[in-house]
Subunit: 361 residues, 2 copies
């Protein structure tokens, strides 16, 4: 049990949920599901059922470490790692792997995302435990894949190959694919071979460090040198941060998972969603009889249908004659966007950055 570790990745900006998710308070720090706990807190609660609390590490950007401490006050400061810069998932996972190996060279790690919905926690716990057990005996990188329920175009897919003998629901992996067009997503789903890539990874610390050394040798070399040569923790952290900033941007999927030949897929059937977009959030939250979803605020609705409303607690939103609109009121930004046009949010953000300034991001 004490070899089990969890890394909660909580450093993202969540820009597709702008303007609720903001640079200073990204989505993982919001109670998006209205259950009284933020996504980060829910994630912590969920993984606490699999991994001892003292082995849970939150990896976040340095700007958010105060928020993490505020929302998880029980977490000792040593269990919060601060990335000094946004460099994508690969450097982040590499750093935390080196850090954990220093603590426990036999660690088996589950990498968790801080912005996911899980419906059946019992099945979830069972799946992750089986994965941790598997990687303790096999030099494999395990990606948890979710059986598709709809031909979703907002997720990446993993194609399963032959099943792993003697381990139910575990497959070798043929390919990782990026978010597909709708036609492909349909084919993927019908084939029965493709699974949503949940971004939940499970591996032994030595397996991941060895594999990353193969595909990102420079980065891993520099990191391992720091951890090997600087015994004092504070100093090591300081130097680690310095070299971190010099790393290129790299995503774990593209740099490692899609290239490695020791990747397996573990099927998860626990009811899962990535809360990355307004669209997913709308799909996830309860609706009134007219199809309106209201987050936090109070509403009076007249002749209004299929809207998504997010406004601060205590604010009254009055709707009259409004349909298919996404309304997000947060701080100094109010966004009204026709539903289905959420894909434009990146453009809005770009324009805001160019024309108006950082205070609206």
């Amino acid at each position: 049990m004490n070899n089990r570790y969890c890394v909660i990745m909580a450093g993202g900006i969540g820009s597709r949920l702008w303007p609720l998710s903001r640079k200073d308070t990204p989505k993982q720090f919001h109670d998006l599901l209205g259950c009284g706990r933020t996504l980060l807190q829910q994630t912590f609660d969920r993984y606490s059922r699999v991994v001892p609390k003292e082995n849970i590490i939150v990896s976040t950007h340095i700007d958010y470490s105060a928020l993490v401490r505020e929302q998880l006050p029980q977490l000792p400061i040593d269990q919060v790692l601060h990335e000094p810069a946004f460099r994508g998932t690969a450097p982040s996972i590499a750093y935390v792997a080196c850090h954990i190996r220093q603590l426990n060279p036999n660690a088996n790690i589950v990498v968790a995302q801080a912005d996911q919905l899980v419906l059946n926690e019992e099945l979830f716990v069972e799946t992750v435990e089986r994965g941790l057990d598997f990687v303790s005996k096999n030099n494999k990188l395990v990606a948890v894949g979710i059986k598709p329920t709809v031909p979703e175009t907002r997720y990446g897919y993993i194609q399963a190959d032959a099943p792993v003998e003697g381990f139910d629901g575990m497959y070798n992996v043929r390919t990782f694919t990026e978010k597909p067009e709708y036609e492909f997503a349909k084919i993927f789903m019908e084939s029965g071979e493709f699974y949503w890539n949940s971004g939940i990874y499970i591996w032994n610390v030595n397996t991941i460090i060895d594999t990353m050394t193969t595909y990102l040798p420079e980065m891993m070399g520099e990191l391992e040198k720091v951890f090997r040569e600087i015994p004092v923790r504070a100093e090591r952290r300081k130097r680690g941060y310095e070299i971190y900033t010099s790393f290129p941007n790299a995503s774990m999927d593209m740099s490692v998972m899609e290239r490695a030949d020791n990747v397996c897929l573990l099927v998860g059937e626990f009811g899962w969603a990535d809360i990355g977009t307004w669209d997913t959030l709308y799909g996830t939250l309860p609706k009134d009889t007219d199809g309106n979803t209201v987050m936090q605020s109070r509403t009076l609705k007249y002749d209004s249908r299929n809207n998504v409303i997010s406004a601060p607690q205590g604010k009254l939103v009055v709707l009259q004659g409004v349909e298919d609109l996404l309304v997000v009121d947060n701080g100094n930004v109010l966004m009204l966007c026709k539903k289905g046009s959420e894909k434009h949010i990146r453009k809005f953000l770009n324009d805001v950055r160019m024309k108006l300034g950082e205070e609206y991001l």
Copy 2:
């Protein structure tokens, strides 16, 4: 010149402009036209050109006297009269008339509304001066009537009768009419006999007190008794407020103007609008090439047309695919209302009062 007085009526709630106009800060205290001065301040500036500043009295509800003092710091406290209760325009005008007669028994008074737009101030000043001159010599109640430019259904109309000999633009009055249906408004306009009732009234202090004594004898009797019998001003005010609260609700138009036989109409051609509704405000404010009107806030607009946006200064409003919508973000209320449905605002307010509570009014 020193017989000229002005009463600025600034006690209304402006509920048709909710949720920008709020119980705690009604529309007259907002810079609705984005010119750097609130409607009250603009009204004060405008009438200062006709009446000496020391003869301008602001009549407001007691809840707003601090706002009046804040926005017109140059106004001595004696020139702010506080109604202790909302009782409509007739008691308000009666009280202030008694008050002014105490100061100057030869006063000629212009009653001004604090929520109007005037385009040509030169012509405006000339018109009001002519009216004040007229009532100093004639025992008449003068209502300023505006020549209609569209068959407006949101204004009351005054029908002119025979012209007053020897005084250009002055007519006897045949009838006052309430806000008409569109078909009637069209007929009114085409007839050339009907004028918009601006709510700007001009009269000598003795004429108005005598006329009101005819139509509201009880109220005037009680008020005059207080002013006659209590010499100390503070005490008089105290007693005056006590009886004020006991008065029934009464509008000046229905209780006095529509019944009196000494009413004249003075034609105003100075470009006028009553800023009572979102619709008028939209008609008044500048629009971008897509017909959007934005008050105060900053906006990014994509594929959005004919909207009215009012949000706090410094707030960014992003619109995508939105048409014909009235968006008002003020304090703890956000209202999205299809344009043309502003008539429902009274219903919203009722529902808010019944279901949610005073803090949203």
